[in-house]
Homo-oligomer: 121 residues x 2
Amino acid sequence: MHGIVLFAHGARDPEWARPFEAIRDRIRASRPECPIELAYLELMEPTLEKAIATIVANGAAAITVFPLFMAQGGHLKQDLPKILDILRAQHPRVPISLEAPVGEVPELLDAIAGWVVGRVD
Amino acid sequence: MHGIVLFAHGARDPEWARPFEAIRDRIRASRPECPIELAYLELMEPTLEKAIATIVANGAAAITVFPLFMAQGGHLKQDLPKILDILRAQHPRVPISLEAPVGEVPELLDAIAGWVVGRVD
């Protein structure tokens, strides 16, 4: 059973989380057998540490973290690898892998560009 | 001739801009007749003001601003409308419209969720 963490930046405004909740709900509807949690770098809960602990407690054999960031800055390049090193040491039996951010996935760049083109046609 | 502005947050790391440049290049390849510019809220150039001025100078009859943000926080809810009010006053003959951010577009939420599901299959 594969666990999924959707990792976002976080913000003061609770409504900011809505798109991430909508993505989580779509994935849950498509893969109800996969434990899935949102996690935030700052300003919102749960933290990545708590989300991973929840998924491990739910019995996941492996976990993939998807950074729902448009682009890769200091948060993803420096902060996230350090956090993941600590979490891997905490959960040595559950492999935790990290995916590319949204803005490094060619099919998602295609989708965003296609949306823009469709709106100005 | 419709002008397009892709509006992103900006960051200290120049590589951060890569996904936005990739989206711009895809749109340009598909609609070479549309003037298109990237613009940043902070830390990178050009500003929205400069990007809009460039597109107006290129003869666009109307401009659409696409906020390439995953979610809508204070930057988009408070800062951007104020900036746009000033720019509309500066360019009264060129209508400037504002699109939803990436995370409020159902087809893009579908695409992101589909990517996640495909990666854990």
